[in-house]
């Protein structure tokens, strides 16, 4: 073999090695993307998986005797519906005799069952007088047992329902006295200590209120600031200073905005704690940089010829800007605003700072009342010890994600539809 051949072979080997390293490198990039995206899929998927069971809730049928000596037709509200429910339960399962057993029996139903009975009677007073079948909410433990989330093979001491309770449940479902229905309460109730009664309406209303305030404040201020900086501000120093300022604000941790709100809006101005008003104001300060940056970019995309034409036919600079340039840039500004609002919708930390973590049962009626927000509700439920809150938390997250997706789709459509092409 000649020297030339050896060096040729060596070169071939070297080349093959280099090619192998080339494809390794490419695969590393692919793997990185696959790992990141599969994490996303896994996270969202697992949350959907856990949350889907929150769509239904379990109800139990009771054969209730509503004769006149139990409920006085002239004084419906005076009757003790809790006692009626408990008596009915004891009649259905006469084997529960001791106090302890009765307590376990009552635990099958939601603590709200008495009120549910009362409300149904008030709605249909003609059912009084006879024995009727009434569906009331089961307790959260029964609900998740019915959804298969409590394993009956686990030793009795380690599960929330004991053998006797499971026996009763089996008896009920055997008699078709138990059913799964759409969980409307989840969408119409406020927060509750009882998982089977907890809903997201008050959190949704709180979020909607805060976001409206955030939009009303940050959008006009943001676009006015952007127009000034882009069209009128003397260049260099001053606008550079504001620009650095805005860029830095955009990267300040959101919790710092919460501290600002706590110290200035609550302590100095004395605005009401936990209110959507303060929440919206804090979110507005956070959203402002996003809106300004997006609005400036969209103003920059308007070609100078538009300005010049307007000025050429005698418009003043303010007229040229507000009659001709700004309207063309408006869709882009809206897009920026929607993206900023989507971020504000998901932000939790600043709202914790200004006290929007209260336990809110009633739907807030005004922006000055204590309220909570959707992400804060998720945070609160995630902390709750009851197993049944797991599906509620996941369901609330799904709803939050749906809103975010809708907002982002709106932004994309807006951008596509009104994209400036000159």
């Amino acid at each position: 073999m000649t020297d030339l051949d050896t060096s040729f072979l060596q070169g071939q080997k070297h080349l093959a090695k280099r090619h192998r390293s080339e494809s390794r490198f490419q695969w590393m990039g692919r793997m990185a993307i696959v790992v990141s995206l599969s994490f996303l899929v896994f996270m969202v998927g697992s949350i959907f998986w856990q949350g889907k069971s929150a769509v239904t809730t379990t109800e139990i049928a009771l054969q209730i005797n509503l004769s006149a000596d139990v409920v006085d037709p002239n004084d419906i509200r005076g009757a003790s519906f809790d006692r009626i429910i408990k008596a009915t339960l004891c009649d259905t399962f006469p084997e529960a005799t001791s106090r302890k057993e009765k307590k376990k029996l009552y635990g099958l139903l939601s603590s709200d069952a008495g009120y549910q009975l009362r409300d149904q009677i008030l709605e249909n007073p003609e059912m009084l007088g006879g024995t009727v079948t009434i569906w009331v909410n089961a307790s959260d433990d029964v609900d998740i047992f019915n959804k298969g989330q409590i394993d009956r093979d686990v030793p009795q001491a380690d599960r929330r329902l004991d053998d006797q309770q499971i026996g009763w449940i089996d008896q009920l479902s055997g008699n078709t006295a138990m059913r799964s229905v759409f969980n409307a309460k989840f969408f119409t109730n406020g927060d509750s200590r009882e998982p089977e009664l907890a809903g997201i309406l008050s959190a949704l209303v709180g979020s909607a209120m805060s976001l409206s305030i955030c939009f009303v404040l940050s959008f006009p201020i943001g676009i006015m600031a952007a127009i000034y900086l882009e069209e009128f501000a003397p260049k260099k120093r001053w606008s550079d200073f504001i620009e650095i300022n805005i860029n830095n604000l955009a990267a300040v941790p959101s919790i710092v905005f919460g501290l600002l709100g706590l110290s200035i809006f609550l302590s100095t101005f004395g605005l009401p704690r936990s209110s959507p008003l303060v929440g919206g104001m804090v979110l507005a300060l956070m959203t402002l940089p996003t809106i300004i940056i997006a609005s400036r970019a969209s103003l920059r995309a308007v070609p100078p010829s538009i300005r010049e034409a307007a000025l050429g036919v005698g418009a003043s600079p303010v007229q040229a800007t507000f009659h001709h340039v700004a309207p063309l840039a408006l869709p882009g500004m809206f897009t920026g605003a929607i993206v900023g609002m989507a971020r504000a919708l998901g932000d939790t930390a600043p709202l914790l700072m200004i006290g929007m973590v209260a336990f809110i049962v009633d739907v807030p009626q005004s922006i000055l009342e204590p309220a909570t927000a959707l992400p804060v509700q998720i945070f609160l439920w995630a902390d709750a010890p009851e197993r049944a809150f797991l599906e509620k938390t996941s369901a609330a997250i799904i709803i939050l994600l749906v809103f975010l997706v809708l907002m982002n789709i709106a932004a994309i459509i807006l951008r596509k539809k009104y994209e400036l092409r000159f």
């Binding site: 390293s21 080339e22 390794r24 490198f25 990039g29 692919r30 990185a32 993307i33 790992v35 990141s36 995206l37 996303l40 996270m43 969202v44 697992s46 949350i47 006009p220 201020i221 943001g222 006015m224 600031a225 000034y228 009128f232 260049k235 200073f241 300022n245 860029n247 830095n248 990267a251 300040v252 941790p253 959101s254 919790i255 710092v256 905005f257 501290l259 706590l262 110290s263 200035i264 302590s267 402002l288 300004i292 920059r300 100078p304 010049e308 000025l311 600079p317 303010v318 507000f322 998901g346 930390a349 914790l352 700072m353 973590v357 945070f379 995630a382 938390t393 996941s394 997250i397 975010l404």
Partner: protein, 322 residues
Amino acid sequence: MTNQTHSEITEFNITTGKRVNVSDTMIKSVMIFCSLVAVAVTVGIVSSLIYEAIEFFKKVPITEFLFSTEWSPQTAMRSDQVASEGKFGVIPLFTGTLLISAIAMTVATPLGLASAVFLAEYASKRTRDWIKPMLEILAGIPTVVYGFFAALTVAPFIRWSGGSMGLEVASESALAAGLVMGIMIIPLISSLSDDVINAVPQAMRDASSGLGATQAETVRRVILHAAIPGIAGSLLLAASRAIGETMIVVMAAGLAANLTANPLDAVTTITAQIVALLTGDQEFDSAKTLSAFALGLMLFISTLILNYFSLRIVKKYREQYD
């Protein structure tokens, strides 16, 4: 381009000077006011944090705050109680924050950079148009969702797999929070790095290929070298995000102020402590409440420094090849 239009507007103003009317000046002053709001927010943040922090340092000496290694802010419940003095040493919080951020950066840097290189150098335009927004979804998901996932899925999994290897893992380990946070900041690194890699002039790629380098060699030896400042900027920005991230650590990292470098232990962070100090009932001028503002000031300063440098580096680098 903008300079030119501006000089034209000024010229035009001179010729039509008489027509500048009252409403124009009014609109202008409104606009100036609006642009001052952004400055006012910064001033507000800085002054309120500094004011409350000074109040705090009147109660707790700043040297104790900065150099003491014990954090347990349980002050007396009533003012006439003397018993328990709070301990306000920020070092365990600082190391906890650094530990979790370091884990997050260890996860995010390789994943983010490899994704960025692949998107910028290998992927077709179509793939890129699809993958890039999908990666950015990661940054758009609210952090409370990550926190929930970290606390309920990742942390138990790490505890279980650590336990099966005979390791003792705290139920609120730094690793779980850091891992999930790392995933969250991947798009920050990949998007910005993708931009800077794209900004490297094509001539450099062509020159390297012309000398016989493979694409991977070109990336490693030419492009990454040229893009290093921009990439560093994106890493700094991601680190600042990790330090300021709140919900993941509140939900997954817990409140135990341990001075440790073990990622399997529970640690706490500056942000988690701010939340713990300020949620619930508190009287406003107690040392416990005020300490949250001192922590906030620290957080603000450290993220500000990181942001300032990263923005400067990115900006300076962008101009280099234009």
